[in-house]
Amino acid sequence: MDFSSYLDLFVTEAREHIGVASALAAKEDEREAGDAGLRELFRHVHSVKGMAASMGFSAMSSLAHDAESLMDLVRQGRIAPKPKTRRILCDALACLERMIDRAEARQPVDDGERAPLQESLRGLLRGTIEPGAAEPVADPGGSALPAGTRAPSTPAGCVRLALIVSRNGAFPSVRAAVVLGRLSRLGTLMRIDPPMAALRTGRFDGRLQVTLVSDLPMRTLAAKVAALPEVDNFTLVPAEAPPEKIAPHVSNASLRVKADRLDAIIEDVLELMTAIGRVDSGLSVESPGSPLANATDSARLLARRAYDGLVDMRLVPFEVATHRLRRAADELSRRLGKPVELEVVGEDVRIDRSLLERLMDPLLHMVRNAIDHGLESPEARRAAGKPAAGRVRVEVLRQASRLAIVVEDDGSGLDPRRLKQVAIERGLLTPLEAVRLADAEALSLITLPGFSTVAETTEVSGRGVGMDVVKHAVEATGGRLRIEGRRGRGARFELVLPPTVALVQTYVVRAGGVSFAVPLAALSRMAPMDDQGTTWRDGRRFWNVGSEEVPVWALSDVLGLATAPQGSGMALIATSAQGITVGIEVDEVVGRREIVVRPLPLPLSTLPGYSGAAVMDDGSIVLVLDPAHLPLS
C-alpha cells in the first residue's frame, strides 16, 4: 500500500471519530458535562491524535493533543465546563475537521486558523497547569528485539512469539489485528500482550507478544511467521502452556475495510444468490424434500445471511451527520440573526454509508434553505404569533423497507401563487400553464433547474446547490423528493429513499406482453382503473381519483409495445421529473419482488425512462422503470 491509500483510510477513520466527537460535544452543550460522555469524547480525539501523528500531520496531532489536555482537566474538575471552554473545544473539533478535508484534497493540512485557536486553548491550559506539561508526547522509538533466532525442528506445542509489527506507514494496530488473524490460522492463540482492548484504542507501539499452541513443527512455524509481510522482526521460543484461560478469539478485533472492497464482496454474494436461484429453478422437477432441494435451500439461506451481514457493515447511524447539520444551522443562524432550534429525530437509525455521503450536501442545503428562506425574522414571527426562535426539524424514519428523511420548518411556508409568479418571470412557465397547474404541483416548481437564481444559491447554500440538484441527487439514489407546505404554516421536504442501494423492493408489472420492475420508492400509490373514472380531453386521457384529475399514459404506448385494451389495468401513480402527478397504466401487477438493480450498460446508460436492469433467478432479464423520467408526451 502506498501513502495515498493510507491517506484515504486515515480520512475516513478520522472523519468518523471527529463526527462522533462533535456529536458528543454538542450533547455536552445540552446537559451538564457527563463524565462518561467526556471520556468517550476524549477517546475519539485521542484516536485522531494518534492517527494524525502516524501520518506525519504534526499540526493536527498537536491541536488534538491540546484539546485532549483540556478535556482531561475538565474531567478532573480543574477547569470549569464553562460555555467558553465548550466553544473552544467545538472550534478545535471544527478546525480538526477542516484539516482532514484539506488532507483529503492533498493540500497542506495546517492553515491560519489553527495557530490562534491553539493559542487560546493553551491560554486556558496555562491557567491551571505547569508550562511545558502540555507538550505533545514524543512517539517512543521501538527497541528492536533480536532477529529471528534458531528454529528447532521439533513439533512446536506451546510457544512464545515476540514480534514487531512493521512500522512502515500508518495504523500499526490494524496491522497487528491482521497479524493476529494470520497467526490464529497457525494455531490457538492463548495470550496476547498488549491485550486486544489496548490494540483497539490505538495505544500500541508495534511490539506484540503472543503465546500460541501449534501442531506445526517449530521450523515451519518460524518460516510462516517470517513470511508475514506485516512482521518486521520476531523471536520464537518454546514456552509452558499458561494456566490462565484462553484469550478471547481474534475475531473480536475490528478491521477497517475499504468500502469498495466490501462492495466487491457484496456484488459477489449477490451473484451467488442469483446463481443459487437458477439452480433452484432448475430443480422444479425434484421433489421438494429431496436432498438436493434441501441443500439448495440451505445455500440460499446462508447466502442471504451473508448478504444481510455484509450490508449491515455498510450502515452507520445518522448521528454521524448530525453535527454537520447543527454546525451549518448555527453558522447561518448567527450570520442572519435568526434564532433557530434544530431538532434531529432518529439519530440512531442506520443508513448506508455511501447513501448518507451522497445525501449530505442535499441535506445541508435543505437545512440552510429552511433557515434562510423558510424562517421569518424574529419580529415577523412574533407578529404572526409564533415563538421568536424558528424551528427546523430533521427526522429520519425507517419503516419496514422504507427509509425517509424529512426536513421541515415552521416558517412562512411555500406560497403556490408566488412560486407560479416567479416561474413565469423566469420563463419556466407560461401564464396559461400556471393557471392549469394545481397548487400541490406548483410546490415542485422550486426543483426546476433555473428556478433559483445564481445569486440566491451562492448566498444561501454557499455551494451552488439548488433544489434541482437536491432533487437530482435524491433521484440518483433511486428515491424521490416530496414537497408539502402551506402559506404561513411552514414547509416539509421528504426524501423517500431506497432501503439499500443494491437490493431494491419492486413491483413486477406487465405491459404489452413484456415484464418490467418498478421500484416501490418511485411510486406514490397504485390503483385499479375503470372506464367510468376516465375522461378524454384534448386527446389526453384523465383519470379522476377523488378530487384529483391525473393524466394517464398507457405504458405500452409510451414504450411502443403491443397495445392492450385500455382502462382495465392498474395505474401506477408517480411524480414526473416536471413535478406533475402522472398515472402510468400497465396491464397487470404480477407481484412484489426484491431484485438487484444495476445501471444499464453502455451504450444504453443514458437512455431515459429506466433506472437499470436486473437478472432474475431464472436468468431472464427485467428492465427497471424510472417513472419520473419516462418520455411522456
Binding site: E271, P603, L607, G609
Partner: protein, 126 residues
Amino acid sequence: MDLLYFQIGGAPYAIPLEAIADVSPAGPVHPVPLSPPAVLGLAERRGRAIAVIDLRSLLDDPETEARGAGNVMRLAGPLEGAALFVPAEVFSGSGTPATSGHVWIDGRLHALLDAEALVKRAATFH
C-alpha cells in the same frame, strides 16, 4: 497484432484481440424499448445484463436477411458491459498494419474496427 476477424455482408473486418473480453454463442436477447436501433437488447452473462450491439446495422450492411445464429463478443476494459453481435464464424490470427484503418491478414485487407467508436456510434445511431 493479434486480431479476431470475420465477414459481414461479404466484407472482411477485424478487431484487436485486446479490445475483447470473451466471445460466446448468442443466447436470448431481451429487447429494450426506446433504445437506439443498433442495440438489439440485453443479454445475460454471469448474472449481469450486457448490451448487445448489432454490428451489421452499424456497418450499413444493406442486406436484410434475417439475423441467424451468431456470437456475442463482450468488450473489455472501460467498455465492459457492451457487446457486439457478430457472425457465427469468427477467426483469430495476427495481422500487420496497412493503410490507415486497415490490416493485412493472410494477404487479405481487412477493415479494422474501433470498439470505442462503435459503442459511441451505437448510442447516437438512428
